[in-house]
């Protein structure tokens, strides 16, 4: 403890920690103070505030941790890229536009990510379309409608949705929800099958291992994410605006529509984007629910298939050949870039709104 030396003893030695021999002569025009660029002082001594070793070390540790985190995100991109390049070089198919995935190094790699990407985006967007209005409703309910006393426990219940591990969502979706949805999906398929969205897909509707099921499960998983941020933003609606609307005789709904929603719109959209990022990357729930298929994706909710994440996870236990693994890592890189862009976009929306601070 280097700090104990000058403390609290009666008649503690002077302030100076170093020898003061002539330093900072009294005639110096302005003593060098807290600004490093300050003039004056003896030329041999840097005009800086003395910092204790403890402070220097501790600050260096915190800065180092910060730099470490920044470096980490860069390293993720770089390492995935380095590992993907050899496999991409050997790839006999078009990586970005190929629709078939053959990552078995025997007989040559031929992997294209397009179908995986389409299923990923399609199912995530479907989930988002369901989750957005429901989350909006929940957030409004919790911030504007629920009795004050119950708002917190209610919010806790919604947060519990986020605490359930995704593997359990997957099991529930595949073994409980999927059969239960079967009548609905069959009805949609029989009556609205002329719409490509509800056309007969590659998955058996009786079992229900469809994008339809996966999307609904994903939507449930997104609810707590979108709700949490929207709630925070709605809560910050300036009470002046709300009271202003109330004083004009507005009904509750009119207050919400004219003050809360306009104020919180950007936060809500940002929250939804974050949810989208989550849905794009969800792995195990999708893996359990979707049936694997070799047919191409047909833009039907009743298709099976694989998202990028589920495809990687499906093959993960057999990553033994580095070139085969490289193909999956290339797909992982695509997913990384995709979620990076979506998340950065979501943050950019919120960053532009100082009133949310």
């Amino acid at each position: 403890m280097s700090d104990s030396d000058t403390v609290g003893r009666p008649g503690a030695p002077g302030l100076a920690r170093g020898p003061r021999g002539g330093a900072a002569p009294d005639t110096a025009p302005e003593a060098p103070i807290s600004t490093p660029k300050g003039s004056g002082g003896t030329p041999t001594q840097p005009p800086k505030v003395i910092t204790r070793p403890g402070d220097k070390i501790f600050k260096a540790l915190t800065v180092g941790s910060g730099v470490f985190v920044v470096a980490m995100i860069a390293l993720i991109g770089i390492f995935l890229l380095i590992q993907a390049i050899p496999s991409l070089a050997d790839n006999q198919a078009n990586f970005l536009f190929g629709r078939d995935w053959d990552a078995d190094p025997e007989g040559g790699l031929a992997f294209g990510v397009l179908d995986l990407l389409l299923v990923t985006v399609f199912s995530a967007v479907f989930a988002l379309i369901i989750a957005m209005p429901v989350s909006l409703g929940i957030a409004l309910f919790l911030t504007q409608y629920a009795p004050r006393r119950l708002a917190r426990p209610f919010a806790y219940l919604v947060d519990l949705l986020a605490a359930v591990p995704s593997i359990i969502y997957g099991l529930w979706g595949a073994y409980v929800l999927a059969p239960a949805l079967s009548p609905i999906s069959t009805w949609l398929n029989e009556n609205l099958g002329f719409i490509p969205l509800f056309a007969t897909g590659t998955s058996n509707l009786a079992i229900g291992q469809t994008i339809f099921t996966a999307g609904i499960v994903l939507a449930v998983m997104l609810l707590p994410i979108i709700t949490a941020i929207s709630r925070e933003v709605f809560d910050r609606t300036p009470s002046m605006q709300v009271e202003g609307a109330l004083a004009l005789g507005a009904t509750k709904w009119e207050v919400v529509r004219t003050t809360v929603l306009p104020f919180g719109r950007a936060g809500y959209i940002s929250a939804s984007m974050l949810g989208l990022g989550r849905a794009l990357g969800e792995t195990i729930a999708v893996l359990i629910i979707l049936s694997s298929t070799t047919s191409h994706f047909g833009f039907s909710l009743f298709d099976g298939g694989d998202t990028i994440a589920s495809k990687i996870a499906r093959a993960a236990q057999e990553f033994n050949d580095p070139r085969g693994a490289g193909a999956y890592i290339a797909a992982g890189l695509v997913l990384f870039v995709l979620t990076f862009v979506v998340n950065a976009f979501a943050r950019a929306i919120i960053a532009g709104h100082k009133e949310y601070e």
């Binding site: 910060g66 995100i73 919604v158 449930v220 974050l274 990357g281 792995t283 990076f340």
Partner: protein, 303 residues
Amino acid sequence: MSTATDLNRPAAPPAFQEINASRRFKNRLATILVGGTFVLALAPLVWLLITVIAKGFQHVLNADWWQKSLAGLTSRQFGGGVYHAIIGTLLQGLICAVIAVPIAILVAVYLVEYGKRSRLAKAVTFTVDILSGVPSIVAALFIYALCITTLGMPRSAFAVSLALVLLMIPVVVRTTEELLKIVPDELREAAYALGVPKWKTIVKIVIPTALSGIITGVSLAIARVMGETAPVLVLVGYTTFINYDPFGGSMASLPLLMTSERLTTNEVGEARVWGAAVTLILIITVFNLLGSLISRLTSLKTK
């Protein structure tokens, strides 16, 4: 409200005017819809919990379930337990926390106490935001590319923990940052005025003041990463044996056990999967409760 026109009205107008029907209808409709969404959100939660308990709870009531592994049992034999997987889940979660929490707290300290609005602080905040959105499968692939292909390490529980570190850091940074921000500046000033150096002020005054919240946040974060499945799928092999060595060989964990036993399509497999689901939910619950309990014990008292 009293304008000149009011004076010209008939003698006794109603004190309060009725809201017209369409406005009232819209208001009521909105209320019902908004309330409905909340019920809609709770339905899957309740349904899911009932499912898991109905299918799995009977299996965890057996003492063997908590004390034995599945070693030596075939996929047709009932019995045994998930002790090996519980150990794996706890071990991987705790190793992750031991690495992630100090880094995360230091990052949060940097952001609140040192960085302020510097360029590096902005970069760190942005990175933490992005990191919190990185899918767990990507984190797993990164650790695979770094440790297994590049450094030539074997698959191991430790690799899993490293992938979980990436997922845990942003969560703990966020919580800690928010908590440090609400520690009043007056306390920092009081310490400075006593001649306490900045780092000691942070370590002995600021962090302890925020500690109970940090503990809650950390235990929530541990609970979260223990349920992650993608990293265990990519980074460690499954085994039915008990393994305490995070650096050596296969190690089971509850999510990994569930994904492996899921492929056993008979009653035995089903019992193991849903039993493990109940176990996982129980462990997560315990960590959540433990967090709030410890934070209650360490929280600031005034009396």
